[in-house]
Amino acid sequence: MSRLITALQEIGYTLLSIWKGVGVTWRNLFRPKQTVSYPYQELVVPPTYRGALNFKEELCIVCELCEKACPVPGTITPKTIEIIFHIGESKKRELDEFYIDYASCINCYLCVEACPVDALVPGASYEIARIDPLAQYDRSRMIFGKQQLAAMPESDRVGSFEHAYEHVPLRRDLQPIPDLVETAGEPQAPAGG
């Protein structure tokens, strides 16, 4: 008899448990959805988000500290950051080209810490492929020079922690650089060194 009662108790407990579980999922139906409709909406990322770097050419003093701080070998260069410069008429270094290889960059920001003039600053952009749409077909096109880095969106969409993960409509003003698209097929690589 006691075994029968235990069995009935178990059946009742099962029914109640199922009812409880159904209630939990039912409440979940009305919660705000976590999905971001990505191509139509975009996240405001939190302030600690590590996105692609912003490079300010006018501040750069070509000290090469970022290149020395860089811990990652690039795909075809010794370091992920590659700087090409010449000595100008006033005996100052003048920047010819500044490459970041986004095929190998790990966003560790050691270069940002090394930069004495804040020419390299953290960014919030995660849409690197939008800079050069052909980068998805040719890995060497993920090596971005000055021109592409200037087209990188500024880190103005870094939210506070309160507003992080807000859904905002996507800005569509970021256009690929036209002359890069026209010269498709020519892999654009630094000359080494």
Binding site: A7, L8, Q9, Y13, L15, L16, T25, N28, T35, S37
Partner: protein, 415 residues
């Protein structure tokens, strides 16, 4: 008890065609009506229903999991399933080298056929039934059992170990749950004194929905029917973490689509049976107030049994609403409950559902044999329900003692 057969829309349509189209012989008229009815059920009811069930399942499960579900193809993702169907039709049809080609090709058709045949006797509204068989429930039970034959054939012919394991599980599940399912189906039959679904609905219109008399039996029926049709949480036959995709692991393209359609058609049939047997089918709780049988408009048939076309549409709407509610309940349970283990499944079938449905059937039989008022059934069933819930409020002591195996000395690094 001599009863007038309910007028059927399709019979009337066939007769009308026989009268007005000169080429049709009179003897063919009912057949043509039935064929038209079957085509309507297949192409305009079950197929769209299944298509949008799949969309609704994905939406509902998405909402449960704080996602949005399909939303890109068409407004609110409404064209997602047609797009998927087109994709499946365009896919390569692969037959494994060592498969039994004939059976491999025929099995999806068998499963599909078994899933759709049962709909021929499901009344969607008053008079909106292809053929209200006087052995309707027996027919449905017989036809739906064929599904498992198709599953076993598909699994055996595809020459795959996972498919075979799945077929064994499916067969075991079907054997275990066919018994409580049919025992549960016997109770509405006993209460209505008829196997015809139309008669069962009419009995409920006269005496109240059977859910009010038999709530626990409804849950037993629902569980058994879900298990019978391999619906999650009883989808052991398709447990992807254990046996890949189960019996249809080797199928691709349109053959896989047939299995998929059949699965959803079976789910819809469970929902339709729940609505018909326990919630009055096309009868709405507003009917005593609105009296739709007196509504004006064209009528089917003559005499007291005739049905107004407006009533037919109203009833069909209510039936669809109830069926969709039951489908949503199945989907909700699917999103809530984890998959059962095979031993739990067998335990529930043999130790809980079969004894309960047997005792319940005996009680209903006694009520009819001794001519007791039907309220006694409701009192007993609701009393048992309340008692179960009251008992279950305290967590039962575990019946199986689980022992922790002590670790050997030095077997594990001491923390």
């Amino acid at each position: 008890m001599e009863v007038q057969p309910q007028p059927s829309l399709w019979e009337s349509l066939g007769n009308w065609l026989g009268e007005h189209v000169p080429l049709i012989p009179d003897a063919w008229a009912p057949t043509i009506g039935a064929v038209l009815g079957c085509l309507f059920m297949l192409l305009l009811f079950v197929m769209p229903l299944v298509t949008y069930m799949i969309w609704w399942l994905r939406k509902w499960l998405g909402w449960l999991q704080s996602r949005l579900g399909p939303k890109h193809v068409g407004p609110h993702g409404l064209l997602q399933t047609p797009a998927d169907a087109v994709k499946l039709m365009a896919k390569e049809d692969i037959i494994p080298l060592l498969a039994d080609r004939i059976i491999f090709t025929l099995a999806p058709g068998l499963v599909f056929l078994a899933a759709f045949l049962a709909w021929a006797t499901v009344p969607l509204g008053p008079g909106l039934v292809v053929k209200d068989l006087n052995v309707g429930l027996l027919y449905i039970g017989a036809v739906t059992s064929v599904t498992v034959v198709g599953i076993v054939l598909a699994a055996w012919s595809s020459n795959n170990k996972y498919a075979l394991v799945s077929a064994f599980r499916s067969a075991a599940q079907m054997v275990s749950y066919e018994v409580p399912l049919l025992l549960a189906l016997m109770v509405p039959v006993l209460m209505a004194q008829s196997l015809s679904l139309g008669r069962i609905i009419e009995e409920q219109i006269r005496h109240g929905w059977f859910f009010l008399y038999q709530p626990l039996l409804f849950f037993a029926f629902f569980t058994a029917a879900m298990a019978e049709n391999n619906v999650t949480p009883f989808d052991l036959a398709e447990a992807e973490s254990e046996i890949v995709a189960g019996f249809h692991v080797e199928y691709s393209g349109m053959k896989f689509a047939l299995f998929f359609l059949a699965e959803f058609a079976n789910t819809a049939l469970v929902a339709a049976l729940a609505a018909i047997l326990f919630f009055g089918g096309w009868h709405s709780p507003l009917d005593p107030l609105l009296k739709p049988e007196t509504w004006p408009g064209p009528r089917l048939g003559t005499g007291p049994e005739s049905v107004g076309l407006l009533h037919l549409v109203w009833g069909a709407g209510w039936f669809t609403f109830k069926m969709c509610a039951a489908i949503t309940l199945i989907f909700h349970l699917r999103g809530t409950l984890p998959r059962t283990r095979i031993d739990q499944l067998m335990e529930m079938g043999w130790k809980v559902l079969i004894p309960f449905t047997l005792i319940n059937l005996a009680l209903v039989g006694a009520q009819i044999a001794f001519n007791l008022p039907r309220v006694t059934l409701a009192i007993v069933n609701w009393g048992l329900f309340v008692a179960l819930i009251a008992l279950g409020r305290r967590k039962p002591l575990p019946t199986i003692q689980r022992h922790r195996v002590p670790a050997r000395e030095g077997a594990l690094p001491q923390g």
